[in-house]
């Protein structure tokens, strides 16, 4: 059984560093860390080509996640408590149907999804928690 779809025990987005470790464990990937002035990037990479990056603020909160890979990672797990509002926003789309590239912009949550089987890309962030001096375009 794939480890990718075990029910989430921790929330990543909005969670702490421990939740990133838990995500890496679930994905079966290794973590490498890039330390920046305003935040740390915890990079999870798996042998299967999945790449997840979690952006950890100086106050220890994951304020952004991004992903790329042959499939979409378990967004319930990556978005944590924010998954419900994301799913709700999808359900409320005025023009439902197949939308391959999508930006869900809520006051407290931005989710961007795109790509197709073999190559998905996306990211989610909490705009209110982006550290001062950091641009959303840096969060990839």
């Amino acid at each position: 059984m794939s480890a990718l779809w075990v029910a989430p025990a921790h929330a990543a987005l909005g969670g702490g560093e421990a939740s990133v470790r838990a995500d890496a464990n679930e994905l079966g990937g290794a973590i490498s860390v890039t330390l920046l002035q305003q935040y740390d990037i915890l990079k999870i990479a798996t042998a299967g080509g999945m790449r997840v990056r979690e952006f950890l603020s100086r106050t220890g909160v994951v304020f952004a996640v991004s992903w790329s890979g042959p499939v979409v990672p378990d967004l319930q797990r990556l978005l944590g408590a924010h998954y419900a509002s994301y799913a709700q926003a999808l359900a409320a789309l005025q023009r439902p149907g197949l939308q391959r590239s999508l930006r869900i912009g809520l006051p407290d949550l931005i989710v961007e999804v795109g790509g197709h089987l073999r190559a998905y890309l996306g990211r989610a962030y909490l705009p209110a928690l982006i550290p001062a001096g950091t641009s959303a375009s840096d969060l990839r």
């Binding site: 059984m1 794939s2 480890a3 990718l4 779809w5 029910a7 079966g28 798996t46 042998a47 299967g48 080509g49 790329s68 042959p70 499939v71 979409v72 378990d74 967004l75 319930q76 998954y83 419900a84 994301y86 799913a87 709700q88 999808l90 359900a91 789309l93 005025q94 023009r95 439902p96 149907g97 197949l98 939308q99 391959r100 590239s101 999508l102 930006r103 912009g105 961007e112 999804v113 795109g114 790509g115 197709h116 089987l117 073999r118 190559a119 998905y120 890309l121 996306g122 990211r123 375009s137 990839r140």
Partner: protein
């Protein structure tokens, strides 16, 4: 109805018209001279408001297909409003539509005798359901024993695993898809490809499901993956051409008729022009690259008839906050002119600058179904040339490892 054609490919169109004339009444036996008649490779494409159960669609290109249970002459149905999708692979049909048509397709099973089911993510949701075998006829072309997916809107098969469609994000049904099915004729022969064949940890795409409905991800050989029907045709199997006319009204047309041609350079009606074709090779993931409006970001890009708009992210353009297109771009001054530079990957490395305009969709005529200048607020990591790109162009989609003259797929061209 939009009936005028562009003049650019007038020679090819004249030939097409000749073939069509020869094929009236389904009889194309006029070849003569002992030469077998060419296979009818021209499938009508209609941009309209969608299936009766899900009206109100815009920029949705539909085809009608014939599907039979494999080997059967009687378990057959003609299914209309199947969405034409150049950025996915394989045929996916809504189960309730098949059931209403009285067709039961034989489900595929794995080595353990378990039902094979599949979860595929599109941006806006996921589809789930079993893999089955079908004989599929598109115009005069046949894909026999084609692995297809049944999108299980009736829950007759195993329930999806927790990550597939979590929180109500399944789009399995006619209203979820805005269509009775999806005809994926993209650049690949199989949908998942090598990544699903022998992964140490199987990707959560194909699943083996017990009779009790417990599903585990498993690897899937290429031959049993959901497959591009074009790749299985006896002839005209190296790709497709989507041929839609220019629109007449900037504020929307009430209907558009075009065609889907099978094969590239295999018949008189699908010959690419000798010069001027922009051939954009894709990488192993099916993307070429695009840079938007002189920016520095090099984005993975596709030409996608399954997306209703130019989909990309430009925070400088306002999005519509009211009207029928909330979330799409509503430029303060319309039309807003933009451009992007496409670049092919690998041997087919054309560079092509494409200018496009973004209209205010609140100026669109109510009940129109086709809009040339519709742009949406897509994600910032990709660039998608959706349906507006197709109007007034011949768009070529070359299948991986299949040659068409000097060009070998995977590629998009125009």
């Amino acid at each position: 109805m939009t009936t005028h054609r562009r003049l650019k490919f007038s020679a090819a169109i004249a030939l097409t018209a000749g073939m069509l004339a020869a094929c009236v009444g389904g009889n194309n036996q006029s070849g003569g001279g002992g030469t077998p008649p060419p296979t009818l490779n021209d499938l009508a494409v209609s941009v309209d408001s969608g299936p009766a159960a899900a009206p109100g669609q815009v920029n949705h290109a539909y085809v009608t297909i014939k599907v039979c249970a494999t080997g059967s002459q009687t378990q057959c149905a003609t299914i209309d409003h199947v969405l034409l999708d150049t950025d996915s692979t394989g045929l996916r049909l809504v189960r309730s539509v098949l059931t209403a048509a009285g067709v039961t397709l034989g489900g595929a099973t794995d080595a353990q005798g378990q039902a094979i089911e599949e979860c595929v993510t599109f941006g806006s949701g996921q589809v789930w359901g079993p893999v089955a075998s079908a004989d599929v006829t598109l115009a005069g072309e046949v894909a026999a024993a084609l692995p297809v997916q049944i999108m299980d809107d009736s829950g007759a098969g195993a329930p999806p695993p927790p990550t597939c469609g979590a929180g109500g994000t399944l789009i399995n049904g006619v209203s979820g898809m805005g269509a009775n099915g999806l005809l994926g004729v993209g650049v690949f022969a199989q949908d998942c490809g090598a990544g699903c064949v022998n992964a140490a940890a199987p990707l959560p795409v194909y699943f083996g499901c017990t009779a009790a409905g417990a599903c585990s991800a498993e690897n899937m050989a290429l031959a049993t993956q959901v497959t591009n029907p074009v790749a299985m045709f006896a002839t005209d199997n190296n790709g497709v051409i989507v041929d839609l006319p220019n629109l007449i009204n900037a504020n929307g047309d009430a209907s558009v008729q075009g065609q889907l041609l099978f094969g590239i350079g295999t018949q008189s009606d699908n010959m690419p022009p000798a010069t001027g074709l922009n051939v954009l090779g894709t990488d192993a993931q099916g993307n070429f690259t695009a840079t938007y409006n002189g920016g520095t970001g090099v984005l993975p890009a596709v030409i996608d008839s399954g997306t209703d708009s130019y989909a990309f992210n430009d925070p400088a353009i306002a999005t519509c906050s009211s009207g029928p297109f909330v979330g799409y771009y509503c430029p303060a001054v319309a039309p807003l002119n933009r451009f992007a530079v496409n670049m092919g990957v690998g041997a087919n490395s054309a560079t092509s600058t494409v200018n496009f305009a973004i209209a205010d969709p609140n100026s669109f005529v109510a009940k129109a179904v086709a809009f040339a200048d519709l742009a949406g607020g897509g994600g910032s990591s990709t660039f998608t040339w959706g349906m507006p790109f197709f109007y007034g162009r011949m768009v070529y989609v070359g299948i991986e490892q299949r040659a068409a003259g000097a060009y070998t797929g995977p590629y998009f061209a125009y």
